[in-house]
């Protein structure tokens, strides 16, 4: 078997006495698309923060293509090729959409090539018509797209998406699912999401987090049938 793209070894994060993440062993293959689900407070966002250098783990390691990145700074992790779209859209609110994308794309390219790439990206995220608008004035869904455009423009090998469909209309969710599948043709992704419809649209393998640990990892079909998962998480939605 080929070496994994990303691997964590007994990764743990404690805040004071609280174990937000404990002893997580997680593996992601090159080009894989993985969904993470789990109730609120299961440690998914903390897990993401450790993968991207925003939090230094209390114990354990994160290996990206075999390289230990658990103590690396966030910008170093980004340069190695991990991009993240955070839960609350994190964009440059005071700048225009074009300036946002340009800032991301210009880390790797310069001059006319950057401008061409920016135009392409604006088309791809469907915001070419709003290129000169200030991002802070856009609707929530559109800001999500801007952030996705930022992440894609840095050309990462692995993309982490934290609740990409949150607050989107049904139509936007559909569009996002299409885009995720398209991205997955060339890149690996980990997607955290609560919206099970969205998960069904994109998922192959699913990892379920509960109380800071991995509860179970399986195909989407088996996860949907798993009574344990139903109890802790899906039960509420199924009943609703």
């Amino acid at each position: 078997m080929a070496s994994p793209l990303l691997e964590t070894r007994s990764l743990s994060m404690h805040f004071g006495g609280v174990r937000a993440v404990s002893d997580v062993n997680f593996t992601l293959a090159e080009g894989e698309l993985r969904c993470l689900i789990g109730p609120n407070g299961a440690g998914k966002s903390t897990f993401f923060k450790m993968l991207t250098g925003q939090l230094e783990p209390s114990h354990g390691q994160v290996l990206f293509r075999g390289q230990d990145i658990s103590r690396a700074h966030a910008h170093e992790v980004a340069r190695l090729g991990i991009g993240i779209k955070t839960q609350v859209p994190s964009v440059f609110d005071g700048l225009s959409v074009r300036e946002n994308i340009h800032l991301a794309a210009s880390r790797l390219h310069s001059g006319a090539r950057t401008r061409r790439l920016v135009d392409e990206m604006l088309e791809r995220i469907g915001l070419a018509h709003a290129a000169d608008r200030v991002v802070g004035q856009l609707a929530h869904g559109q800001r999500q797209w801007v952030e996705l455009g930022l992440v894609l423009s840095t050309d990462p090998q692995l993309i982490l998406l934290d609740e990409p469909a949150a607050g989107m209309t049904h139509e936007e969710v559909q569009k996002t699912a299409d885009l995720v599948r398209e991205i997955n043709r060339t890149k690996a992704l980990i997607v955290v999401e609560h919206d099970m419809q969205f998960i069904r649209m994109i998922a192959k393998r699913v990892t379920v987090f509960n109380r800071g640990s991995i509860l179970v990892e399986d195909t989407i079909e088996n996860i949907m049938r798993n009574p344990l998962v139903r109890d802790i998480y899906l039960g509420k939605q199924a009943a609703a």
Binding site: T52, A74, H75, G83, S90, V91, D93
Partner: protein
């Protein structure tokens, strides 16, 4: 007119007005006025240094006067020891820049938050003030230069043309030099801000975490910004020491730091021309208020109106509460609002059916 054209027009306007001002003022104004205007130009360079650091870099430095004072003292001390001004000027830029780099490394790589950054820069300024203030005795000297403590250093030799000790710069020459430096600083900063570096520091100001997640190291960019700001402030200090041929510890003081902040806040953060306008306006106002003093009599009201700190305090409070973005950005907003209103009216006139 598109934003880019408007921007270009502004640049050309600043250049033309600046050059006309620079070349014609000495011919039409008396020497006192020229002397007064020279110090405005020098202070405007100082204002630009904080406009970069705070307005664009988002680093609230309460101690920009520390670098200004350091530049002035470096020039004075080096001049007494060397007698020829080429190297002293270079030192007066490099030393404050190095100090800013050291302090910046300490703060940014220590991940100190905004508020604490203000406190540290303020404290460092006070340390400098206290230290220099207490060096009045003859035992405090660097080479041939006595530090003079609270008395300051008088009689600083003037600038000369590079490597030509005989050719001292006269008062009119100082005006040309200061105004020219201001224009160069302004356009230099415009270039810097239009570059990749400029975009990144603005991005970091807008959202540091996002810039980091895109692969930019905010610490390095902030450090570079802070160092450039220190160098500019040091250069302004060098010119200032030259202008009055005198430095004293008050230029490290809190009052001086407060002034710089007021210039930037009045003119507007995130613009360059704003702080220049704020600086010149406030200095003119201070001078006008100070001029009242001898004739002002001794009743309370005239004392109050001849009182620069009091008026500056009121201005600062008023701007924070009422015009927090400063004059230039607010004026731009108003202009944009008026323009948009007119355009909307025109459109409505053309297509009355589509009015919504």
């Amino acid at each position: 007119m598109s934003g880019r054209n408007l921007n270009l027009l502004g640049l050309v306007l600043v250049g033309v007005v600046g050059l006309i001002f620079m070349f014609f003022t000495p011919h039409f104004a008396d020497l006192d006025t020229v002397l007064e205007l020279t110090v405005y130009m020098i202070m405007a360079i100082l204002a630009l240094s904080l406009a970069l650091v705070w307005g664009y870099g988002g680093i609230l430095c309460f101690g920009q006067s520390a670098f200004f004072g350091l530049g002035a003292y470096t020039y004075a001390i080096a001049m007494f020891n060397m007698g020829e001004s080429t190297l002293p000027v270079v030192l007066a830029v490099i030393l404050p820049a190095a100090f800013a780099a050291l302090l910046g490394y300490f703060m940014f790589y220590g991940r100190i938050s905004d508020v604490y950054l203000g406190v540290i820069t303020l404290t460092v300024t006070l340390i400098l003030f206290n230290s220099v203030n207490s060096t009045a005795g003859p035992e405090f000297h660097i080479g041939a230069a006595r530090l003079g403590g609270f008395n300051g250093i008088p009689g600083i030799p003037p600038l000369n043309w590079p490597f030509n000790k005989g050719a001292a710069v006269d008062l009119e020459g100082m005006f040309y030099l200061s105004t020219g430096s201001l224009l160069l600083t302004y356009f230099g900063l415009r270039l810097l801000l239009a570059s990749q570096f400029g975009r990144i520091i603005v991005g970091i100001r807008e959202n540091e975490r996002r810039a980091e997640l895109l692969g930019y190291d905010p610490r390095a960019y902030k450090l570079a910004t802070f160092t450039i700001g220190g160098a500019l402030a040091g250069f302004a200090g060098c010119l200032f020491a030259n202008w009055g041929a005198f430095v004293s510890p008050t230029i490290f003081g809190l009052a001086q730091s407060a002034q710089i902040i007021i210039w930037v806040i009045v003119g507007g953060r995130g613009t360059l021309i704003g702080p220049v306008i704020g600086c010149i306006g406030i200095q003119w106002l201070s001078a006008a208020l100070g001029a009242n003093q001898p004739s002002g009599g001794s009743d309370l009201w005239s004392k109050i109106f001849a009182n620069a700190p009091l008026i500056l305090g009121v201005i600062l409070i008023a701007f924070v509460l009422l015009v927090p973005r400063g004059l230039v950005p607010t004026a731009a907003d108003v202009a944009a609002f008026v323009l948009r209103g007119r355009r909307r009216r025109e459109q409505r006139g053309l297509e009355p059916q589509q009015a919504e």
